[in-house]
Symmetry: C2
Subunit: 622 residues, 2 copies
């Protein structure tokens, strides 16, 4: 079989691919992360590249205009080289490499005296052995641990046994021992460190964004954090596309290596910036939805999307960093938060743990608005959960100029003058590159209450100069090209708004269906907790005004930010939190909305701003 060389600019990277492979395959092989919401199915139009030189054959696609073709702009996934070829990936196709502002963390503090970390360090000073006291080095260490208060049988890793003898003798029978709380096993031993080696990492593996936090396991303080786009985005924007991709040849391994690359990149970045060596890390807690946790462990997620929607596993043993593939010391324990089912994952049990609703008598609504939307209702006695097919709109997926809440994203919008550009705030303070979830909510609300769009989200083109024809649809200029980073207008189109209405409608319908099933009126909710990557500027009032959140007293709302990450951090620090994670996973009842009567009616009724039934939003009609 022939093969062709594909040179990819602006990286000047060349890869070789077999005949009949696409440019999308070539880009995958190169490791350069790009947008490809549909996972290479020719449906999203995100993987546009420019062919600079060489022969190729492109399949006809409605997303490629004659003007595109004239400029050699093609969809990478539909284009097949016929010779060695050189292409350029435009900025918009590239998945940004840059780091995302950490979300405001969930306001959960943990008292230093209650800290009981996943891996605990014991600084031991042992008696020197003699002919009369000649137990083995390991038994001597165990004796030291027992004196330090550890009870029960103590295990030990092979790697530790291998290093123990020289370690003890070189350090005058003093050493630091790292004990995994879950089973009292020694996972590592080191020189008396004087306290430096004690970091854990908490990681939220979102479908779109991976957020990582370094935590001091003794003080409980976060010392650094960072987020990055999940590089799996190259294989599809949402979990369904990822699962489809996982069924390709090597698809599962590819997805695994992409999420590992993302995580390891954040770890590298933080170690570099914080000046703390990787060797200071002694454990990790990872939290993600069920599909993300399967993909991370290379467990086939195939049956998650086939009725009756069964995951392979919902609870995972504590593994080693080596087994998982994390670039931290190989024997560090890695815990994954437990899932409830296929569509209520470890990110939700983690978020609920962080929210504390499992310890509260108050009837609480917990909403996680991310690439998926998950709803939990309950209190310390019971919990019921569902997942809404909201899609990734609020994280920027499926929105022309959408992006996650990261540097360069518009995070809030206020229209003062209908004929002039709106007033914006931009994350990081520079010129904007796109629109994140919180600003999308602002925009829908502002456009609707200014009369620029109607209840169905259709533009009224005659009343504002900022509404323009954009290709085959209408759009509103959020930021004119003179003021943007890339020199192009940032717009929100009717198609974008339709996507957002569907997303908010799906979430609303989830809440509404669950409450009806429980026969609880909205007014009985005592707390409404909102989690997810919408951005730090989430405006509750506007979220209610578009029908995303229920119209209840505003003081019942609390925005938790990335609660999944907060829960992972808690699990690093607290035995109680680790126990609660398991209890929550056991006690939560999962409701499958697709088979719940009335859900579709609720959804259709919610495809209005704020809703077809205005009586649900009394405060909006005043």
């Amino acid at each position: 079989m022939n093969s062709f060389k594909v040179t990819i600019n602006p990286f000047n990277k060349t890869v070789e691919i077999a005949e009949n492979s696409s440019l999308y395959d070539a880009i995958h092989k190169s490791g350069i992360p790009i947008h490809a919401d549909c996972g290479g199915e020719g449906k999203c139009g995100k993987c546009r590249v420019i062919v600079d030189k060489g022969d190729y054959r492109s399949e006809k696609n409605r997303l490629v205009t004659p003007e595109d073709s004239a400029r050699n702009i093609v969809l990478a996934c539909r284009t097949f080289p016929g010779s060695d070829i050189t292409i350029t990936i435009p900025d918009k196709t590239l998945l940004p490499y840059d780091y995302i502002e950490p979300l405001r963390s969930c306001p959960i503090a943990i008292k230093a005296e209650t800290i009981d970390p996943l891996v605990k360090r014991f600084s031991l000073r042992l008696e020197e052995p003699s002919l009369d006291d000649n137990i083995s080095d390991l038994e001597r260490v165990k004796r030291g641990l027992k004196k330090a208060g550890v009870s029960g049988a103590i295990g030990c890793s092979l790697a530790t046994m291998r290093k123990l003898a020289p370690l003890l003798r070189e350090n005058g029978w003093m050493c630091d021992i790292y004990l995994l709380s879950a089973d009292n096993s020694i996972v590592d031993a080191g020189r008396p460190s004087g306290g430096s080696r004690k970091l854990g990492i908490a990681i939220d593996i979102g479908t779109t964004t991976v957020a990582t936090e370094f935590v001091d396991l003794e003080s409980g303080r976060s010392i650094a954090s960072h987020s990055l786009y999940n590089r799996q985005i190259s294989c599809g924007a949402d979990i369904i596309h990822r699962i489809v991709f996982s069924q390709k040849d090597d698809g599962l391994e590819k997805l695994r290596s992409l999420i590992l690359a993302t995580i390891n990149e954040t770890v590298k970045k933080i170690t570099g910036e914080s000046g703390r060596p990787r060797e200071d890390i002694i454990c990790a807690v990872l939290s993600g939805n069920t599909t993300m946790e399967h993909l991370l462990l290379a467990i086939d997620p195939k049956y998650i999307r086939e009725e009756p929607y069964i995951p392979a596993a919902t609870r995972f043993p504590i593994l080693t960093a080596q087994a998982v593939g994390l670039d931290i010391p190989p024997h560090s324990p890695v815990m994954l938060t437990p899932s409830v089912g296929s569509y209520v994952g470890g990110d939700i049990t983690s978020g609920v743990t962080a929210s504390g609703m499992n310890n509260s008598d108050q009837l609480t609504l917990f909403m996680d608005i991310g690439t998926n939307g998950e709803i939990v209702i309950g209190n310390s006695e019971w919990m019921i959960a569902c997942a809404c097919s909201a899609g990734p709109a609020f994280e920027g997926g499926g929105i022309g100029d959408g992006m996650t809440a990261t540097s360069g994203a518009i995070e809030s919008v206020k229209i003062f003058d209908m004929n002039r550009p709106p007033v914006l705030t931009v994350i990081g303070g520079g010129q904007p590159r796109g629109i994140c979830g919180s600003a999308m909510i602002d925009l829908m609300s502002e456009l609707y209450y200014c009369g620029l769009i109607n209840q169905k989200g259709k533009f009224n083109p005659d009343i504002s100069k900022m509404i323009r024809k954009i290709k085959n649809t209408l759009g509103y200029i959020v930021a004119p090209k003179e003021r943007t980073e890339h020199g192009k207008d940032i717009v929100i189109t009717e198609i974008d708004i339709a996507n957002l209405i569907r997303a908010k409608g799906a979430i609303w319908a989830g809440v509404s269906t669950l409450l009806k099933k429980l026969e609880i009126p909205f007014g009985d909710l005592q707390r409404v907790l909102i989690a997810g990557g919408l951005g730090n500027s989430l405006d509750i009032e506007r979220s209610v005004s578009i029908g995303l959140l229920p119209d209840v007293e505003r003081d019942k709302f609390c925005y938790l930010g990335n609660a999944s990450l907060s829960g992972a951090r808690l699990a690093l620090l607290s035995e109680k939190a680790r126990r609660e994670l398991d209890e929550i996973a056991s006690k939560m009842t999962y409701v499958d909305l697709s088979t719940t009567p009335g859900y579709m009616d609720e959804f259709v009724a919610a495809l209005f701003i704020p809703h077809t039934d205005a009586s649900l939003f009394p405060s909006m009609s005043s």
Copy 2:
């Protein structure tokens, strides 16, 4: 740096070595196992090779005669090539590749109804999932196990989680689950096998010999067994030389790879001969002395031989075959029997478990006579143990024509006519190649009671034509060259006999010192159990007659054969045995003979046949 090619015959194998490397290094690199009792220190003279072609430089060595030099016979460890070179390894230098007759196994039967194997197979038939019963595949399996009587928390290996989903669906929700008894964790899952996949392997890792037995974990029957020389012999005949070798560059890794090569070779051989595929093996129990267990796991044994003689570890977690390096399915659990201390290892706890002395009221003396000699005295209430520096004489080490109890070994000797060759039995029935432990005992006894040697083991050359001058010493022709496999006389020399007397003296002194310490007269012993690789023909009467065993009533003796292997087999099959192993390791008191007053006197007094104090052997003076 220059390098030279060394071609090794009769294998026609060529390896490249750096300048200043020895022929011994070259042979190591080639993987060809040879005898080298001293581990390449130029002291044993076993690594003799013939240089056929090429330049070399040999260090002067008293073990190489001018005649040797004239014939280009050199010690590999003292010879350094000066050009590309071709050598031949003579048969006597080669460590035999052939398989050793399995020793008579310890007469311990286990009732089928009490079998509770290390890894237990559960054949499950699960309910098909539905929207109403949508727990994960793993939780479904756990539910099935609970219905089958498994209680408590159930863990699962990552590898199993990866294979579960397709396995269950391809087999109509039926599967075999393999559960590790120690912690109720699922170690593997497979298709409903109808009972074929259920083998465990028991392995005794002797310093000289590695014995392996395949055991059906459901019936308890042994289905095949084999033994091989431990290829580590190329690095020294006893544990002290092995530990010295382990301190060389890559020495530890080399020793580990040699023991793994030996074990994996026996596994390969048995799977080949029994027709049972390797995949039928689901777990292993390994039993060896403390140094062997350290070397197998690549744990540095350095401090075992330095006062105060501290091993790195005496208890090991259950590992995976992959972590250990065994060529059986990678996730199979591998258990190592626990040690007591540096010189009382897992082979002794295993042997004691097999002997049942820990469950007996009778005052029992347990003697393991292998490359080391270990003594245990006690009963169900208490146990005390020591190790004697007996050396490997009874396994053939340090004895010119010595060999282990394998095919071609003379295993019993009877002198009918002082002037004619003795009557022999040979293991396997063919022509002899050497002398094993049981025949050495016979020879010492026969030679002494026929008057051919005196009490000190010195020959009386005038009374038998079979006594000849052999190099600088005297020797007795055990088998004349016309009747041997290799066409050379098999002899036992005065030097050999001196070695044997030292070995039996060391063992005797151990027993005697312990009993004196306990203030127990020999006559109070109610049972004497003998374990070790002496050969199936061990003659108790003759062993007493040379002063190796105490002169007590003969019906108190029992020869257990390879009790370490029997204990490993029991641990495969019985939860009770696994518990007992731990209890024995905890309760046994170790006595260091080197610091025990009186030991040296006992040793010196025992350097006579049978002993300087004839009153200790009343039945011999009659």
